[in-house]
Amino acid sequence: MRIGVTVFPGSNCDRDALHAVELMGADAVELWHGDADLKDVDAVIVPGGFSYGDYLRPGAIARFAEVMAPLEDFARSGGPVLGVCNGFQVLTEAHLLPGALLRNISTKFICDRVRVRVESVETPWTAGCEVGEELTLPVAHNEGNYFADAATLARLEDEERVVLRYLENPNGSANDIAGVCSEGRNVVGIMPHPERVSDPALGSDAGLRILRSVLVGAGV
């Protein structure tokens, strides 16, 4: 399986994501922001970082990068896409996912480990998990406070599109939401960083539960 990782100016988890893809046993493919080409990948990870310095608003400029046009086509035709942290922000700015990520309620950047519960396994990025499974995952963000209007939140809950939920809410997110999926369920955005816990050498490979899920769907 070929998994692409987008690289925007200012992405800083791109190399970590590429490394994690190798650890999950797939081929890692770098997708340069200036190339409107997904290089025939089977899935895409939009990694964390500070694309374009987070200037204007996190993700607001990245969504206009050349690589986003084919990425949006890929997403709309059902291709698996995972946005992590800044990647989640990019996907909401691109309207591939509902809602927005506001500044943390503490107004401070937070880097910590948080416990989350898997709420839905009906996505390519959680298919290998179990409903109700608890994972401890790292977070590192300044704008992780998930916001959507009441109707959207109700709809997300109703359609079971909340994918991960915080057990201890670190940032003020509505409904303790740590991750959501698109209507088609193939596009997932999460604030926690699974790629940071993908190697037992660093003490945990809980993140592979999420990343390897995409291989389940592909029958690998």
Binding site: D16, F109, C111, L202
Partner: protein
């Protein structure tokens, strides 16, 4: 040497280059005392950073640098650009920056100004480091009145590089092109280096314009671009633009290569109009690098810079004449011999022992009442800003980006792996300002010893040192004496430990109208692992583990201790001189026990003494401990010399606490044969109990210890 008076532009060049910050004119003779050779040393002082070999073809480049003065007047940008500057020093060696640390000092948090400086410095470090994508994995912070209004912000960076890819900042090759990479040049930071070489006064507030402004996004692109340029072998040499801007970079590159450089000043891209050539030459605009490129590779190099969205401009040429020549539209507007500029005059000063030392060492323990409530004392110590948890700080820093952080912040040292190998490295930063104030030589040695112990605790073999020498004015006897004595103590320790000083920085004139700071050399020490999976952390790991204190305790004393300052409000006494040979032996033993896998739980005894060290281990592991019956009495008789407070909270340079499962107790005893040690109990339960004096729950301890340092403390807690 020039045979004529310099013009205004030339004078500006001298003004910045011969400042203490760039020229080390007061400190250079003293710095020669530092040992700087060792088996693993590939690059000692003289380049942008020191470099040591790890193994398997890997090397580490590292350096620490101060940004004290800018942070005093503009704390967010001062701290942020301190981080940016040290990253570029590492990048200039050709290394990928992989870890950041910092040593910070502030005045007590009971003053609004200090709270502001603390909050904004931490925010600045995070704001830059988080965005640039280099993890901030460790550091230290202390609060004392002497730093009020004159905070210390020392940033350290470690970079990883293949041995064969090591770069130099030496300009060579007549006719080679000088290429400026990165941001455009503005008026920010003009005369930053001279500003940093003066005392801080009320007028300093008006020097905000001397402080540079950082753009971590530009730096991130500069890092990736330079690493790609190096990978494609397009650069001959590389130098960052820091203090004194292009002037310093170009003259240092020329001087070390024994050549000259012609700068065509009108070609330097600007972000402001109407800049004079001298302003362009000494601007400290951030996120810029200077590279020497062979003419036939220039086109490819500039194209690559464009791909990364950063500026790349040919701004001059290497020339045989040995001068730094500044031309504007062809006309020479300034000429100075490069080596003359890079070689500031040296002031040798007389070392005079200051009289304050005779007063502060007086400490009559008879006048010191022993506490009535030891539980309250322990909780007060654990809650004090100098001893409490640093969690509220390091959770504001991304400490995991890069996915190489093996041991998260909060341990004795940061532990990092090298991907694709078993290898790893550990880094710590340490400083002991109060100790150096009371005894500059002993404090200097103890600073190095503490770093050596911290690395040994996690299981790394200490290899080399970088330092920041933060002192008051060298023109005053107190300042110069402190500088000279601390260097002597540090040098002695580095010699005994076999950890040469391979890079460093000097920050003098740390004075306000309230006086000078404590003499505060800070040390960044790097150690290596052959197998990084064999490491230890302070947290108790299993109930029932045997807990052992290693060390005779013969030097334990209340002189200069945290207990004395926090509980009794006194900074006094002569701390016992560190026994360097014994300290090395004990540290090496602990490291060996970690490396062989016998010990996975270790912590060094430092501020607050044995009890605070054990309490930290209990809190980190959420496991209590009860000292056995009679132990308190034995301790009081022994290391306490009859006083329980001295036994429990006394300090010395040395001492470790380790824990092992009961079934390894025999092996541990074998390993410890020949060493003084004391079994102090077994882990378990949720209380911390010592004889009839201390009995508190871990929850009470945690409530005191896990405080948010950004919140305003009550007056009672302010202390220090």
């Amino acid at each position: 040497m020039m045979g004529r008076p310099p013009n205004y532009l030339e004078l500006s060049l001298f003004s910045v280059m011969w400042s203490e910050h760039c020229g080390y004119k007061n400190s250079r003779p003293l710095l020669r005392r530092f040992p700087n050779e060792g088996a693993r040393v590939m690059q000692g002082p003289g380049e942008n950073a020191g470099v040591v070999e790890v193994g398997d073809g890997w090397a580490l480049a590292f350096k620490m640098e101060s940004h004290n003065h800018p942070s005093a007047v503009e704390p967010y940008e001062g701290a942020a650009t301190g981080v940016g500057g040290i990253i570029r020093d590492i990048l200039a060696m050709g290394a990928r920056p992989v870890a950041l640390l910092n040593s910070l000092r502030f005045g007590p948090l009971d003053e609004e100004r200090n709270r502001y400086l603390f909050r904004e410095v931490v925010r600045g470090i995070g704001g830059y480091g988080n965005a640039v994508g280099v993890p901030t994995v460790g550091g230290e912070v202390e609060f004392a009145r002497s730093y009020s209004g004159n905070p210390l912000v020392n940033a350290m960076c470690v970079g990883l590089i293949r041995v064969e890819d090591l770069m130099s900042a030496r300009a060579t090759g007549d006719g080679n092109l000088v290429v400026l990479l990165g941001s455009k040049t503005g008026r920010d930071g003009i005369h930053g280096a001279t500003f940093a070489s003066d005392e801080l006064t009320e007028e300093s507030e008006s020097k905000r314009s001397n402080v540079q402004v950082g753009d971590p996004f530009a730096e991130k692109m500069l890092i990736e671009c330079c690493l790609k340029l190096l990978e494609k072998d397009l650069l001959g040499s590389l130098q960052d633009l820091g203090a004194a801007g292009i002037t310093s970079s170009a003259s240092e590159m020329a001087a070390s290569g024994g050549v000259g450089i012609d700068i065509e000043v009108e070609k330097i891209p600007r972000r402001e109009t109407g800049m004079e050539p001298w302003e362009v030459m000494i601007s400290e605009s951030q996120e810029r690098m200077l590279a020497i490129v062979e003419p036939d590779r220039a086109e490819e190099a500039l194209k690559l810079a464009e791909r990364y969205g950063i500026g790349g401009t040919v701004v001059g040429r290497v020339a045989g004449h040995g001068d730094l020549r500044v031309r504007e539209n062809g006309e020479v507007v300034g000429t100075v011999p490069a080596d003359y500029l890079a070689d500031a005059p040296v002031y040798e000063r007389e070392v005079v022992r200051p009289s304050y030392l005779d007063e502060v060492v007086e400490l009559d323990l008879e006048t010191l009442p022993q506490p009535e409530d030891y539980n309250a004392v322990l909780l007060t110590l654990l809650a004090h800003p100098n001893l409490c948890s640093r969690r509220s700080i390091y959770t504001q820093y991304d400490h995991q980006v890069g996915t190489d952080t093996v041991v998260l912040p909060g341990a004795d040292a940061a532990v990092m792996r090298i991907k694709g190998t078993q290898l790893g490295f550990a880094v710590t930063t340490d400083g002991r300002g109060r100790h150096c104030y009371l005894d500059p030589r002993g404090g200097g040695a103890a600073t190095v010893a503490e770093a050596y112990r911290n690395l040994s605790c996690v299981g790394a073999e200490p290899v080399a040192v970088t330092d920041c020498l933060n002192f008051g004015s060298p023109e005053k006897p107190d300042g110069y004496y402190g500088l000279s004595e601390c260097i002597e103590g540090m040098s002695e320790a580095c010699e005994v430990f076999g950890t040469p000083v391979v890079s460093g920085n000097v920050s003098l004139y740390n004075e306000t109208d309230r006086g000078a700071i404590y003499p505060t050399p800070t040390v960044g020490m790097v150690g290596v692992f052959e197998d990084v999976s064999r490491h230890a952390t302070p947290a108790f790991k299993r109930a029932g583990d045997v807990v052992v204190v290693i060390g005779s305790g013969s030097g334990v004393s209340l002189a200069g201790s945290d207990y004395l300052e926090i509980i009794h409000g006194r900074v006094a006494g002569e701390p016992s001189a560190p026994d360097l040979a014994a300290g090395k032996k004990a540290s090496d033993l602990v490291r060996e026990m970690v490396q062989t896998g016998l010990v996975d739980t270790a912590h060094d005894i430092s501020g607050g003494g044995e009890i605070v060290a054990v309490a930290e281990m209990a809190l980190a592991g959420d496991l209590g401990i009860e000292y056995p019956e009679g132990e308190l009495e034995r301790m009081t008789e022994g290391q306490g010399h009859g006083r329980s407070d001295a036994a429990l909270f006394g300090e010395q340079s040395g001492g470790f606490v380790v824990a092992v499962p009961e079934d390894r107790w025999d092996d541990l005893q074998d390993a410890l044969s020949g060493f003084a040690y004391d079994r102090i109990g077994n882990t378990g339960g949720d209380r911390f109990k010592i004889g009839g004096l201390i009995d508190v729950s871990l929850n009470e301890m945690r409530a005191a210890y896990e405080r948010n340092l950004s919140e305003t403390p009550t007056v009672a807690e302010a202390g220090g």
